[in-house]
Amino acid sequence: MPINFTVSGTRSRERLRSRRQQTPCPGNRDGYHHALLRWVALLSLGASGGLHADDSFVRDGEAGFVLSHIEYALSQDAQETGACPEGMSSSVSEIFSRTPAGRRRNGESDADYAQRLGKGGKALATGPGGEDLCQHPEAGKPDPYFHTVEQANIPAFGIDIDGVASSTGAAPAPNTCPHDDLIGMNGEPGIDNQFFRVVGCNRSFQSTGQSNTFATEMLTGSWGILLTLAGVDDIYNDDSIEVGFYSNADPIKLSPTRVPLAYATYLSDPDPRFRATAHGRITNGVLTTDPTDVRFHYTVNSMLLERPLRRARLQATLSNDGEIEGYLAGYAPLEELYDLKFGFRNGKTSAGELAPLHLRSLSSNGAAFVLGHTCTGAYHALYAHADGDPDPQTGKCTSISMQYRVRAIPAFVVDSEANAAQAKVTVVSE
């Protein structure tokens, strides 16, 4: 279940605040001194590994984290914001049911009608050459029943990625295509979140839907995401740090009540495609990074998939007990995003081979049916809203702005069992 974020502040932020109040250093200013004191204490211990205290999530300037929550940055439900005046998108069977041939016949039983709707839907999901349109969405026409968020001043979660607020009439930022920015939940302009425009009128992306609860799968351990910080001298203000983004090679550790546990050790995925670093900084407790290309694992129906984000940047608060909360924002390449979320065309087996066609086809068509969209609709809507990485030849954008809301808790991130064991020995011996 997605965490119940509210517009003005999150429940967990309130929790953090109350926790800070327990310490004698609640404010930033005092917190700064607090941190300084702590680091003086740490440094005085030399290289032996530092304080073993409640809040010492940074040791020798390094810290690790595991994502404890992730979801797409979207908005409140369309019903509340009025973002979808034409209603929600439809599945192929729903579309077929609106055609004359799709109407229920007199005396037709529920079962017969459902079977006929399925058949009719399948015909709509099949291309002119008999191809499966989920696997070949480019062969289909744009779906008029696939609705998207088109108004300008719709509020959405996220940050201003490209540094340009479209409402000011300014020229598009380099490496982007013209698009209407959204406004932030607190009214701030310039929010780049075209992915929300694409999926915002899908019922599965409303708060009651199933498309934004993929973090529960993370808690089963099938995939996970790690972060690291290095070169940290001060957790409130530090103008130069290194941030690592890795896929987790270990399942996340949970409490008996299924809450992720802090300070577990995780191995980062050794595959370089799933490792990235970026330069960053902390300003008044807010951690931001320069853009970097990241890629994480994902699974659907036992197929291995990939979750890429180009020019991704982290913008998040870092609390004094080591909790990170904020946005991971960037541009998702359209074809890969379509595969991740709708088509599964590149789904692999655990042996690393392309999954059987029937599995990919059934999964994508089944998902479209259950979640209430069409593959062609999603595919063409992605292209229609693309705002990043214009093709040098055609000038058409090939990626789309997309943001995740993430929370992370302290963890130990190691590179390999052997190397890390040595590293650890040097950390704890003197």
Partner: protein, 578 residues
Amino acid sequence: MKAWEKATAPGTSWRCRVGRFLAFTGICLFFAQAAGCGDGRPHESIVEPQPVGGPLLVRRLTESQYRATVADIFGPDIPVAARFERGIRAEGLQAIGTSESGMSPFGVEQYDAAAQSIADAVLSEGRRDQYMPCIPAAGVAFDAQCAALFFDRYGPRLLRRPMLTGEVDRYVNLAEQGNARLGSFYEGLKFALIGLMVSPEFLLRIENAAPTSENGGPRQLDAYSMATRLSYFLTNSTPDQALLEAAIAGDLATQEGLARQVDRLIASPGFEKAVRAFFEDMLEFELFDDLAKDPLIYPAFNSDVAADAREQMLLTISDHLIKQDGDYRDLFTTRNTYLTRDLGIVYRLPVATRKGWEPAVFPEGGGRQGIHTDIGFLALHSHPGRSSPTLRGKAVREVFLCQEVPDPPANVNFSVVQDPSSTNMPTARDRLDAHRTEPSCAGCHKIMDPLGLTLENFDGLGAYRTRENGAVIDASGSLDGTEFDTPQGLAQALHDHPETPRCLVEKMYRFAVGRDTVWDERAYMDYLIETFRTNGYRVPALMRTIALSKNFFVISAEGTPRDEFTSTGLQAQEGGRS
């Protein structure tokens, strides 16, 4: 039997037992001077005093001994499907409880179930070939000879002595009756084996005296009872074939022959199991069976963490004492440990190894030093939802220093103690101050709390903390005159406490013989302690000293009421074939 300690201060209350160590420190100092302080080598002038010994005992096998015995005789893959009764703790040790506990109907029911699962497996179609010394002849109603060979082989192993005259026949007859009713040789054999494994002489170690020695010296255990004591003390399991043979051959009667066996057992893999069995007993690890923590307050706790916390201490102990042959006292100051990933979460330390254990060193200055700061100790002596300086102080005193802390007086007015969540008294120290200032509580709490409060930087699960309810924790305290304000200070104080090695020696000897020590054995205890000291507080050396000492095998004058019976009654059925 009169407890050694009880007699030390006649007329004084039990409540004063904590002060007992002072009396012994005197003796200890005397010896230290006489022997020329700690040159680390066994001193020639240290000789074992005249043996005193103890009574013949009937000791029940512990669960771990039962399991090890079955594994040694039939193999480790034989299932023991039973739920054992929990051992009784007497005088601080379950080992002493084995000489006192009875056997309830439930207990026998469970032994019977265990015997069934073992016999089922041993004589199952797939496995029987590896156990059967013969193939039962086909075409006869019952191959009694083959059945006899089976009991010739396993009877002595299970009963730890040669079979008595007619004893094999008895089990063969049972097998034959079973065969007649069930129409299967192996089914008959199986039930006869169950009978053997439910027999009191398998489940109980019934000790026997050797015939009166001709030179009129003190009586001692017969060779098989000696072998059994040695084996369970040094390997926590049944005598192996070589030890039984040495017993039959009379080797244990000579000091050289005895030393050969003792050294062989100490060098065997079973020795580590014995050391572990001792510390499991000393550290009261049966409490792990009841250990529960509130999942909301301690989310990192689960049954895997509990199992790992237990194993962590045993790994640390056996590595330090056996592999490193380290000084026992250093167990209270060492930062060397072993971790799993699950433990790493509680200790907040990285553990690269994905499955299993890796050696680790607790960070210096991090508060963890000594096995008493392992979560296995801290969590065990806490409440389900919070720490307990009182329980921890009591445990340190009783477990490591052999000081008995009296029970709280029954009718205390506790109303002086305020609400634990009160903002006036955020920390345990604040709350316990009330106890320590209330006269009726102060006597005991002054003994426990200053010690336990130094461990308050560890919460009820044992995770490090600097604050409780927002207030900074003051971890200062004292132990019998030594003051400190960190867990490291406590570590050093425990390391240096004169009672620390003395208590270990006391418990080890009582563990070995399964009874409390008696007043007349004080000279022997001083001998052990002094040898322990001159050997640099090496535990394997201490166990060797005990195993080689006369006192270990001698039967005290009042302990030989069974003069009717001697091992002359043990006539090996076929000339000591076993």
